[in-house]
């Protein structure tokens, strides 16, 4: 892994955005997440890595309560955002999701125009007072999603008519258009070419100055490039969590070491 260039490690703050304690997730009888404790700092990129099926997506979906939509899914334990229990009775998951945006593993643009895809979130949250302001938000979001140049001439064309990689960048732009405080990204670059990947990584790095970003990735290089913290999941357990540089150069657990050197996965 000599092409790894570790990011500037300086974590700007120690402020904790998400803190999870003793999280258990069950799908019916399947125990998908086993007793996970993790702290996610603000203005930090946290990477979740681990072999397929180990529960990265599941844990990510706990953070904005997307698991509520799965009837058989049960979440136990304590997850706090800025010190507030997000599974508290008083919390409206819709309000939570406006704060915690998400990019899904499979690109899922709305079957509407490219413009409407981006404008939908700002519209329902009342972020734009006028059409001009909305146009502005759309353009800014598409630029940050590294897709503006490709779609600026066909904003009224259907979002579903884009290529897979373009769709994924559209979904990223859609997620940041609502100005979330935390952005959860489930393998955002799995369908992207190296150029678009680099652009998205640049975006993530830029987002870090204001938000907290959690990214699931199968690429060690990517985790090493963009993240400051890394969590390694294995069979539903959080095996190791710490500074990215530390995890990649000096893993404590032998399972982490085997995974990053390519022996399990």
């Amino acid at each position: 892994m000599n092409d790894m260039r570790f990011m500037e490690r300086a974590v700007d703050t120690d402020e904790i955005k998400f803190s999870a304690r003793g999280v258990q997730v069950y799908y019916g009888d399947t125990h998908a997440i086993k007793d996970v404790d993790v702290d996610i700092q603000s203005k930090t990129v946290t990477a979740f890595i681990g072999p397929s099926g180990c529960g990265k997506s599941t844990f990510l979906r706990c953070l904005n309560r997307m698991n509520d939509t799965i009837d058989i899914c049960r979440v136990e334990g304590d997850i706090r955002l800025d010190g507030e229990d997000i599974y508290n009775q008083k919390v409206d998951p819709v309000q939570l999701r406006a704060k915690v945006g998400m990019v899904f593993q499979k690109p899922n643009p709305f079957p509407k125009s490219i413009f409407d895809n981006i404008a939908y979130g700002p519209r329902i949250h009342g972020l734009a007072a006028s059409k001009a302001e909305l146009d502005d938000i759309v353009e800014k979001s598409l630029r940050r999603g590294a897709i503006w140049d490709e779609v600026k001439d066909r904003l009224q064309a259907p979002g579903t008519g884009l290529s897979g990689g373009q769709q994924q960048r559209l979904c990223i732009a859609r997620a940041i258009a609502t100005e979330p405080e935390v952005l959860l990204m489930d393998e955002p670059c799995s369908a992207l070419d190296p150029i678009a990947t680099a652009q998205v990584e640049e975006l993530i790095d830029e987002l870090r100055t204001q938000y907290s970003v959690v990214i699931v990735t199968h690429s060690m290089q990517q985790a090493a490039r963009v993240s400051q913290k890394t969590a390694f999941f294995h069979l539903g357990n959080l095996v190791e969590f710490g500074e990215t540089g530390h995890i990649f150069t000096n893993p404590v657990d032998h399972r982490t070491e085997s995974y990053i050197t390519g022996r399990i996965g």
Binding site: M66, Q95, R97, A98, N108, P111, Y120, G121, I124, R174
Partner: protein, 445 residues
């Protein structure tokens, strides 16, 4: 080892078909032929059906009319001479019939046609409906008394049959309702242009008529009744059905109760329609006290019948919307309601529409439950305009067809077929609207 055996197999050319491929192609070809045969049988059956209906029913849209100049003598129709409508009503249609007969006789004199038929037999050439038409005219225009007015009267049912080839001189000789001599008069009238066949708007607009005067029977009341019922069904079944489906599909948690509801909705879809008629009779008429034969009751019964169809098709189309769309909407912070109404429903709309139209089409053609709630009654009064009209007695197109096929006079056969044509056109129009709306929705990809 296995490698070795594979390599030793003889090399085959791509240009020669292997026996397996040949067999597979033959099966495929046979399957295509089966499919073609099935489609041909279907089309053939449809063609036979349509030709028989159209050849029988086409003539219902034409009707024979006699044009006559009628003198309206005041001393007979307004005996007191004061043009008081209430007093003029004392003269019944029997007072008017001789005027028409006289007009016909003087017309025959004019063209120099001599006949030794009795007055009554000559008068029978014109429909019994004519006297009522004349009386209505005089009561509406009392000033026309003592003048001569030109009228177009319906010809009698047998005369109309003669014009349409259903009756001829031979059959007339055996028929006690028409005689060959009358037909001779008709021939003379045709020659002078007093009697002709033309398009019959009255078939679409006039109310039903008694069994003795098929020439006057029309679909107007039945058409209005069916239209009113469809309005009731559309405005009740569509919102209720769609709301129920959305709740069941998107909001309710999967539980024992929803399972039971689901099974029962499927069962309801399979309940014979006559059962809904009994239910409607018991609940809407006997219990709720709604009037008999009213489109509102028919509409309610048909709504109950259509709901399961709409719910099942709506749920199926909601289910077919990919869950990733819901995730996407929820992910940007849309509420459940916004997700459903902004994203899921538009995608499901074409399917919902199709289900609704199929349900409506079923309801439009349904006869059995309507018989039970009294829509089979003989109704000559048009129902009033929309809000009150829903409570007035009316008939329905399929019931009218059933009714006419029960009547003795053969002239009703063509009218029943004609009514079927109208029903089919109604259906085709509804389907066309559905297709157009679907296009509308689907154009938004």
């Amino acid at each position: 080892m296995s490698d070795a055996t594979r390599h030793s197999a003889p090399r085959t050319s791509l240009y020669t078909l292997s026996p397996l491929t040949k067999r597979r192609n033959a099966t495929e070809k046979r399957f295509k032929v089966y499919g073609l045969i099935a489609i041909s049988i279907g089309i053939l059956a449809l063609l036979v059906l349509l030709t028989s209906i159209f050849s029988n029913g086409r003539s219902a849209f034409m009707q024979t009319y006699v044009t006559l100049d009628v003198l309206l003598p005041a001393e007979k129709l307004d005996k007191n001479g004061n043009r008081d409508i209430e007093e003029m009503k004392a003269v019944s249609t029997f007072g008017y019939a001789p005027l028409i007969t006289n007009a016909l006789i003087s017309r025959l004199d004019e063209i120099g046609f001599a006949t030794d038929l009795k007055k009554k037999e000559i008068g029978a050439i014109v429909s019994k409906e004519a006297a009522a038409q004349l009386r209505n005219f005089v009561l509406a225009n009392p000033d026309s008394l003592d003048t001569t007015v030109t009228f177009e009267f319906l010809a009698g049912g047998r005369i109309d049959g003669y014009m349409k080839g259903r009756v001829d001189h031979e059959s007339a000789a055996l028929d006690n309702k028409v005689s060959p001599e009358q037909l001779d008069i008709v021939d003379a009238l045709i020659e002078t242009g007093s009697l002709e066949k033309r398009f019959n708007w009255a078939f679409l607009t006039a109310p039903d008529a008694s069994g003795q005067r098929p020439e006057a029977a029309g679909l107007g009341v039945a058409f209005l009744g069916s239209l009113y019922m469809m309005v009731v069904v559309l405005f009740l079944a569509l919102p209720v059905g769609v709301a129920a489906s959305i709740y069941l599909e998107e909001f309710s948690k999967q539980s024992r109760l929803t399972d039971i509801i689901e099974v029962n909705i499927s069962n309801l879809a399979a309940v014979p329609s006559i059962v809904y008629g009994i239910l409607g009779l018991a609940i809407f008429i006997n219990f709720a006290g709604l009037p008999q034969s009213a489109p509102i009751v028919g509409g309610l019964v048909l709504t109950l019948m259509t709901l399961p169809t709409i719910i099942i098709s709506t749920r199926a189309s909601l289910k077919s919307v990919p869950p990733s769309i819901r995730d996407a909407a929820l992910g940007v912070g849309a509420s459940k309601m916004q997700t459903v109404f902004h994203h899921v429903l538009p995608l499901a709309a074409p399917g919902i529409l199709t289900g609704t139209i199929i349900g409506l089409a079923q309801a439009l053609g349904e006869t059995a439950p309507l018989l039970l709630i009294g829509m089979v009654a003989f109704v000559r009064e048009y129902p009033a305009g929309p809000p009150e009209g829903f409570f007035d007695p009316a008939s329905a197109l399929p019931v009218q067809v059933y009714n006419w096929t029960q009547r003795a006079d053969p002239a009703f056969v063509e009218r029943a077929s004609g009514a079927i044509i109208v029903l089919l056109i109604f259906l085709i129009l509804m389907n066309a609207v559905a297709v157009l709306l679907r296009r509308r929705f689907e154009r938004r990809w």
